[in-house]
Symmetry: C2
Subunit: 277 residues, 2 copies
């Protein structure tokens, strides 16, 4: 938008990543209806370094842009949901989620295959331990997070209409399958205080803090219903090596880190199920 | 020792690692002079699974052991030391260390090439920022940690003799170059309390806690001198994938994690240099 205002015919950005490599990182562009739409691209950090050096060294550098990406018409799709019904308060819903869709240039292993698997693992691990939660715990794989939060919005709309459901808590894993070092919580001060009182229970598993502020894109639309939000926060060093890039692939996921993140989600869901929030 | 007491002719252990792969992990064996010495080996976890299945399935399984490892005579070697002299209290020494030696079956990138590089980086980064520490900060690459702490012992011996040196603090990175999530401190209660008061300064960089208890093998011999000990603790999920194994290689080190660990060491060294402990 800013480039178009200045008369640019197109815009190329250096990929937003910590890594110096040859992978361009994709993403969405927001246009402004009052300004001419111009094509936008991202280049890899290595290419950006090279282009920058060239621009400093030579005059009259020319660059040719060609794109063939396009937006297809909407088609129906679905969130995928599984749940363990609560034994005492089945109408109080705890949601553990990730999103099913990914960008087309890779598998989307970390964004957000791992979040989906971790959400399923919340249910599987509680079942495997024979735990019957007091409140209902739901694993939700949200559809179409990347292009408009359609699944998250549809889930919240359904939650609003379901007068027999009270959505008390939702946790999302959408920051890479690198385990959890903190859990971030957004809620009322007394809810945050209660969640923080559980910190000692998860610390031995490498979840060092329960902190103020957190959530996720897909669960965000539940917020106006008074749902307490929670985000699984891994260490931040590696996610943007893979985020929206061709190397967001299965082999870059570490099994134990994936499991540790999943069990952190399971722990916080079980605690809320057992003690409320 | 326990197997020999029971009449075993040799012992083979499942490699002590979290990973399920084909890499045997080496290490040292401690013998007892009152018991017959028997050969000891480690096998990969995949091989151990296979052997275990075979032993359950078949009777009369035979296993052939052959070793050609041996202990060579001692030769002189050296710790490698660089320092920034303190401007106000040059005789108060802060040691940041890792160890130079590694097992022969790999490069020893995480054990402990990364600790050496991080120790050098403590000095380099402070110099690059133009910081002149009040106390002396020393980067020490200890020799022969793996077979008897020879470098660590020699350094502590020299420290005892150097009556003009007061070794107030030592930090070691020898748990893999995966960054730092906590710093563990061993010292008097008031020293720990003072160190913990700095927690808010390092938290924004992903060092979530300063905790009670920590140190490192090489700096350990300084402990009787009253030196406060500190260990750099990364997340524990990945180190034992590589520890003492053929895949402890350079390409498994993540640049930003390595840097984050180094700068955590630099931060704690600078804080001790500036404010004492």
């Amino acid at each position: 938008v800013e480039a178009a205002k200045l008369g640019a015919v197109g815009v190329i950005i250096r990929s937003v990543t910590h890594a110096l490599d040859n992978n361009p990182h994709t993403g969405a562009t927001r246009y402004d209806s009052t300004v001419t739409k111009i094509p936008a691209m991202a280049m890899s950090t290595m290419d950006a370094e090279w282009l920058s050096a060239l621009l400093k060294k030579e005059k009259g550098v020319q660059l040719f842009m060609k794109q063939d990406c396009k937006q297809y018409p909407d088609v129906p799709s679905y969130n995928v949901i599984g749940e363990l019904r609560g034994t005492e308060f089945p109408n109080e819903i705890i949601t553990a989620g990730g999103h099913l869709d990914s960008w087309d240039l890779a598998e989307g292993a970390h964004d957000d295959g791992t979040g989906c698997m971790q959400s399923i693992e919340v249910i599987r691990s509680l079942k495997a331990m024979g735990i019957k939660p007091r409140r209902t715990i739901r694993a939700v794989m949200f559809m179409n997070e990347e292009n408009g939060l359609r699944g998250g919005n549809a889930y919240a709309e359904a939650a609003k209409k379901a007068t027999n459901e009270k959505h008390i808590f939702a946790v999302e894993s959408d920051a890479g399958g690198f385990g959890a070092v903190t859990l971030g919580i957004s809620g009322k001060p007394e809810q945050l205080e209660k969640a923080k009182s559980w910190a000692g229970l998860v610390r031995p598993y490498g979840v060092y803090q329960i902190t103020d502020g957190g959530g996720g894109a897909d669960i965000g639309p539940l917020r106006p219903l008074g749902t307490v939000m929670c985000g699984v926060n891994p260490g931040s060093q590696r996610y943007f090596d893979h985020h929206h890039a061709p190397n967001d692939t299965f082999e870059t996921v570490h099994k134990r880190e994936l499991e540790q993140g999943a069990l952190s989600m399971a722990a916080i869901c079980w605690l809320v199920s057992e003690y409320g929030l």
